[in-house]
Each structure stands twice: as C-alpha cells, then as structure tokens.
C-alpha cells in the first residue's frame, strides 16, 4: 500500500449539528484509492500529533472525500475553524476497511453518535439492501439520517431520552428484532459499550459482524505500536494488533471484549 501525504483544499464546510462539522476535501488521488472503513490522519496547525478521522464519503468522479467530526478537544476545534478554500494536512487513506459482500441480501449498519459517519460509504455500496440503525443521546446529536436515506438505506433512529427518532433506548433493541429475521452482515462503529453489546447480540445469533475500533494514535501507519488492541487469532491465541494498520475494522469475534 502506498500512503500519500498532502495539503488538500476544503471545498465545502457545513455545521450539521451542535459541535459537529462536515468537511469535503478535493483530493483526487485519495478519493480514487479510499475504501469504506478507512480513515485519514489530519494535522491541526500547531500540534505535534495528527487526529484520526473516518472517511464519511468517497466520490472518485468528483475527486472528493467527506469527513464528519465532532469538536471534542483542542485539535478538532482548530480543524473545525478552517474554512472553504483553506487546506488540511492529511495522510490517507489509512487502515484496513470493512469487508464488502457482493452477495449479501440484507445488511445492518449500526452507528452510535459520531460513529455514524463511516456508515455512509457502506450505505452507498449496499443501497436499498441496508438498514441503518443510529443511536444518539438526545435530539441535538442526531446526524446524517437524510444522507443515509438518500443512499437508499432504511433508517431507524434511536435516542436514549426519546427526544427524536422512532425508538427510545439503545440500538440493540431494533437490532435484535432485525437479526431474528435473518441478516447477512452487521457493521458497527461507535462507543465501546455499544460495540460490545452489538458484538454480543451478533455472536449469540451467529451473525457475521465487523466493528470499527478507536485508539489513541501517533504514527497512524503501523510503525510506532502506539495503538495496540488485544485480539485472538483463529487458534484462540492472544495477540496485540494495531488499530491503525490491522484495523480500524476487525471481525467482532477476533476482538478481546
């Protein structure tokens, strides 16, 4: 795999929810190579470490890449302050993405909060074969439901406090119901407790499941061993792998929950 590093212009920037921005970059060589589930590593000006952000949209024809991120700390605040026409210093595309199944009839995309954006490229691939379950704390955080629908996915929005969406509570309630009807694959990204619950339901029902994990990173390419995560190989032997290179997407059964 060849990595590219460059400074790419922002062609569109939108605030899509409280403290959540959507940025589209012009970067034809990255857009031509990127796969669903991969991420980019962006350097906020004045900081020493890059920030990993999932790829939320890949348009090889337009030569653009979309990123959606929450303002969490200093670095994402700095990045969110950039405007159209300004540049982002980015290494991309990085990591190992989701496995795409051409013969799948029905897949479920489970996104929790800021874990929803990486579901968009999957929704584009699966079109009407996908059901997207998204979970948020409250109505202020709800994002990307129209984007998922525009790509053909059926959406089920859940909020913990019931202030938006059809479901009050967690994503696992509608997920369990869908799994009982038979599903070919489940893809999930979000907070660890949600991923654990999703993986648990899938393993109980024997459903194929992939999860996208997060870890603090330094190099982002697999050289520094900073982003270790514990997994089990087929023989059941424990091993340390790296979220940036071996992941961020892993089969749920490999992860040591």
């Amino acid at each position: 795999m060849k990595y590219t590093q460059g400074c790419y212009p922002i062609v569109e920037k939108k605030l899509i929810a409280q403290d959540t921005v959507s940025i589209t970059l012009r970067c034809p060589e990255v857009a031509a190579a990127a796969q669903p589930g991969q991420f980019v590593h962006i350097l906020p000006k004045g900081y020493g470490l890059r920030r990993p952000i999932s790829i939320a949209g890949i348009d090889p024809e337009a030569g653009t890449l979309r990123l959606v991120f929450a303002i969490r700390g200093k670095g994402t605040k700095e990045l969110a302050g950039l405007n159209e026409g300004e540049y982002m210093d980015m290494i991309a595309p990085l990591g190992h993405g989701f496995t795409l199944k051409n013969d799948a009839q029905h897949v479920v995309l489970v996104g929790g909060g800021i874990g929803v954006p990486p579901m968009l490229p999957l929704a584009k691939f699966y079109g009407t074969k996908a059901t997207a379950i998204s979970g948020f704390r409250s109505f202020q955080q709800v994002i990307l439901q129209e984007d998922l629908e525009a790509l053909g996915a059926q959406t089920i929005c859940c909020t913990e406090d019931g202030t938006a969406g059809a479901v009050k509570g967690f994503v696992t309630t509608p997920l369990e119901q869908l799994l009982s009807e038979g599903v070919d694959a489940v893809y999930a990204c979000g907070p660890m407790p949600m991923l654990r619950a999703v993986a648990d339901v899938c393993m109980r029902t024997g459903t194929y499941c992939e999860v996208s994990l997060e870890e603090r990173m330094a190099c982002g390419v697999g050289a520094c061993l900073g982003c270790a995560c514990r997994t089990r190989d087929e023989k059941g032997e424990e091993q340390f792998v790296h979220v940036c290179k071996n992941g961020p997407v892993f089969k749920a059964e490999e992860v040591q929950w």
């Binding site: 795999m1 060849k2 990595y3 590093q5 350097l43 900081y47 020493g48 470490l49 890059r50 670095g75 290494i91 870890e215 603090r216 990173m217 330094a218 190099c219 982002g220 390419v221 697999g222 050289a223 520094c224 061993l225 900073g226 982003c227 270790a228 995560c229 514990r230 424990e238 091993q239 340390f240 290179k245």
Partner: protein, 303 residues
C-alpha cells in the same frame, strides 16, 4: 551542496540523520513515503531475547510540544528480527543500528551475541529499561548497573557498540563515563523523560501504564544540555536526539557535540521530517559557507 557524510566508530553514514528507535518500526511503513536510502541510518525498534507484547492501551498522550508513550518493549524477539526484518533492512543502502534491550545483563548479552554473527552495522543498547534483578530500577540510572550491562554486551560482540543513555538521572556525565570505561564505542542520548498526564474529569491517567516517556520539542533544550555535558566528559562519539524537528535543531545538537542526530516524534507530525531535515541542514551549511557537516561537531563556544 555541502558534504553531509559522517563517520562514527568506523561506520560511514551518507548523512547524519537517523530515525530514532521505536518511531520507525523496521522501516516498512515509511518506505511507502520515500526510499530509505535517503536516510543516514535507521535505529530499529528495541528488540529483546524473546517476544514481548508491551503495555495495555492507551499508550499515547499528547502534551504541550510533545507526547508521552508507554508502548513498552513490544517486539517479536531477536530470532524473528534476524530472520524476518534484518535481511530486508540490510538491502536498503543505509546504516542499520539494531536497538536492543533486556531485563538482565545476560539477556542483553545473548541478544548482542546473536547479532554479532549478522551483517548489522551497529548495536544500540537501550539501558533505560528495568533491571529485574535489581528490583526493576532502570539499568541506566546507576553507574554500577550501567557498567555491568555494558561490559556484558561488550564481551558478547565485536560490533560497534552504542549505549543509549537515560536522562532520568542526577548526573548523566557519570553514567556516560561508566559506560565508556566498560567498553562502549559511542553513546546516544537522550531517551525519553518520565512523565504523566491525568484526565481531570475521570481522574484517570491518560496512559494505562499511568506514566510514560516524554519526547518531542518539549525535551529539546534538555537534549542540547545533556549532549554538551557528555561531550565534555567522554572521548567517544555521541549520537544526539530529543525533540529535533528541523535542520537547524540538528545543527544545534551537532554544535553541542553530537556526530549524528536521531529524529523521533517529528516523524509522527510529518512522515517526511527526516528527509526534510537533511535538506535543511544542507541549506544552512551552504548559506554559511561550511563545506562539511563534520566540521561543526562540538564547535559551540561556551561563555
């Protein structure tokens, strides 16, 4: 175009810039950005006698002008290194410094002995790791332990031996003199400074290991000071490092007394940092009419 070549313990480097141990793996990832032959050398990830899994994540924390890491000595073990990584590295037309470590002087010596029969160019012995026989205190924090481990490795190999010093000591010059007396051919410094960060809301340290090693621009002045002090205390060459991010930083460390310079955290900020630094050093030398970089080593004029 200035002459950037340097010679350390008889080993010829085409330029003085070497990615530091632990940030560059075995070069495979960064080779996707540029040919490794552009580098003066490569210091490989610390290798121990047997495979180690390292510490539990999180292992990385950002700090003002720097970072903490608690990777630990995760590595596949010396046999795997020699069989699977070293042969590839030796084809890259750059000097290979095999960084080694162990929990006992015997483990360090065993690893060095295995490398002795390979074509690796230099051995860099990391003495910042805990000595299990001495209650876990790092070898590099006492003159006696530093001397013991250096002597044990010296007996095991005739390769040029660079001992990498820990800055977490009261007097780095005493340690440098001790390893020189025990047979080190050169010293490299500095390794990371011990630090800690806490998430003030959860009251949990950011690193699962609680504490970790500080590197990056924040430690640069400490590195300059220690290189200068050690240069005045020993007669063996010094490889300097700690927070170098520009060609001018590298020049400064060489004026303080370093014959070559390693680059660590800067590789994370910019994967091209080592090659950019080489270009910037050349520009500085040209602009100041200096024909060879080796002429600036130790030329600081203290007050």
């Amino acid at each position: 175009m200035a002459d950037l070549s340097v010679n350390i313990c008889g080993v010829e480097f085409k330029n003085p810039i070497i990615p530091a141990s632990g940030v560059f793996g075995y070069g495979r990832e960064y080779e996707e950005f540029y040919p490794l032959s552009r580098l003066g050398g490569i210091a490989t990830k610390g290798t121990t006698g047997t495979k180690r899994t390292g510490n539990i994540a999180p292992r990385i924390a950002e700090t003002p002008a720097g970072m903490l890491n608690s990777v630990g000595l995760q590595n596949p073990g010396i046999d795997h290194f020699i069989a699977k990584e070293l042969p590839n590295l030796l084809t890259k037309d750059t000097v290979i410094l095999a960084n080694i470590a162990g929990s006992t002087p015997e483990e360090c010596a065993e690893v060095a002995a295995k490398l002795d029969s390979t074509d690796v160019h230099m051995i860099e012995l990391n003495i910042s790791c805990p000595n299990v026989k001495q209650g876990g205190a790092a070898f590099g924090t006492s003159c006696t332990m530093a001397e013991q481990v250096t002597a044990a490795v010296r007996k095991a190999t005739s390769k040029p031996l660079v001992v990498k010093l820990s800055p977490n000591v009261t007097s780095i010059t005493d340690i440098a003199k001790a390893v020189e007396a025990a047979g080190a051919d050169a010293v490299s410094l500095i390794n990371t400074l011990l630090g800690m960060r806490i998430d003030i809301k959860t009251r949990r340290p950011i690193l699962h290991n609680n504490v970790g090693g500080l590197s990056g621009p924040a430690i640069f002045p400490v590195a300059v000071r220690m290189v200068w002090q050690v240069a005045n205390a020993v007669n063996i060459p010094i490889i300097g490092m700690g927070g170098v991010t520009t060609g001018e930083d590298a020049i400064e460390l060489m004026e303080a007394g370093a014959s070559a310079v390693q680059v660590g955290m800067a590789c994370f900020t910019d994967p091209f940092a080592p090659v950019k630094i080489i270009g910037e050093m050349n520009d500085f030398l040209d602009a100041h009419g200096i024909s060879a970089v080796r002429d600036i080593v130790g030329t600081v004029q203290p007050w």
